[in-house]
Symmetry: C2
Amino acid sequence: MTLSEENYLKVIYHLSADLQVISTNAIADKMQTKASSATDMIKKLSEKGLVAYKKYQGVTLSETGVHAARMIVRKHRLWEVFLVDKLAFAWDEVHEIAEQLEHIQSEELINKLDDFLGNPIVDPHGDAIPDRTGKMTLTKQRVLADLPEGDGGHLVGVKDSSAAFLQYLDKQQLTLGSRIQVLEKEAFDESMVLDVNGRQKSVSQKIARQLLLD
Amino acid sequence: MTLSEENYLKVIYHLSADLQVISTNAIADKMQTKASSATDMIKKLSEKGLVAYKKYQGVTLSETGVHAARMIVRKHRLWEVFLVDKLAFAWDEVHEIAEQLEHIQSEELINKLDDFLGNPIVDPHGDAIPDRTGKMTLTKQRVLADLPEGDGGHLVGVKDSSAAFLQYLDKQQLTLGSRIQVLEKEAFDESMVLDVNGRQKSVSQKIARQLLLD
DNA sequence: AAATATTTTTAGACAAATCTAAAAATAGAT
DNA sequence: ATCTATTTTTAGATTTGTCTAAAAATATTT
Ligand SMILES: [Mn+2]
Ligand SMILES: [Mn+2]
Ligand SMILES: [Mn+2]
Ligand SMILES: [Mn+2]
């Protein structure tokens, strides 16, 4: 697989979390290319048996496609762990570099890296890391915005991993692992007053929709 | 710089150790491409000011070209140290993977990796690692084949880093750091009888020409 | 059910990196 | 010095991944 095929495949995989069938436009949007380019690549992936495709009907990943995509995601997330745990990068700085490292071809490398890192289960953003067979231990996570007053848990993940959002969380001291409880939920704008590790904080619904608790 | 430009630049840099002016054919040979492809790339590197080039007269690296090449070599060798020291790869297994990793674009990454590894001076094959400014501390090395009887030193490097040769050295327990002394030098075929860490070993001139002592 | 809007595909073009075959320049031999 | 062999460059084609513009199919609205 070429670097470009891998990037398309990964995008289709991530889109598959929300949609059953992935449209050409959705792929083009995420890849920041044109629909015509997406069509060309879809045909290529289809010929290789990585996606099922019928003209005008969108694509779905095949089994081998899912597995291939998971192996790329595995690499991406393991490298992110390496960058944060070993090289002391901040969690908002690792995405772009992992975007490159995920394309390094060597199964032995990634398995040795996995062992070196202590076979981590999640990456610095709380996302599950597929093991060498493609399996991932998914812990059930609840979206903070959905919780009623009084409920709570630990912050175990974020839906938005953009640098801007992660930096906001750092500033608010909303770090992974924080103990969070919903003190008040404002009916008017759905904003929340939280107890975060004993301190009171207020967050908008937009923020609360991105935070995942255990 | 594209991946391809980087590979060409590095090849020209390595050839510059032996030659003052690098021929198109020499580049094509090392790159395993055709002379016409080399010409095309030479023009590109020339336009970017990385090499000085005059038709039919070969190329020489410019100052910026040397610096850029050294930064790629730096990355290659630091990744090799990482693979051997941290991930427990053998020294004959790391070249291909480093060949990919050397193209990852992030100065911060490579400097943090450098620190993480303890700012090593040499890679697993005894080759000097340029520091972040491009400088490398070159220790004067002598080729074993040139030493007279009685002389010796520590094995600090190899000229041939091919997997086949490195595996031969492993088999012969000729590891980097070994204390070597020339016991006999056969006039007939220039083969040598050595004392390697107290044990006697015989090596052909072909081998002796690849081993570097301090 | 038509008409209209949107999505998707096709057709054709372009840049990057490669190749083959032929032409041009240089180097080596007589 | 001329001829010959080798090296190097050019010309033109190919592959990959992209684009724009236009055509075709599907979805939405009236
Ligand atoms: Mn990528
Ligand atoms: Mn991540
Ligand atoms: Mn390389
Ligand atoms: Mn090396």
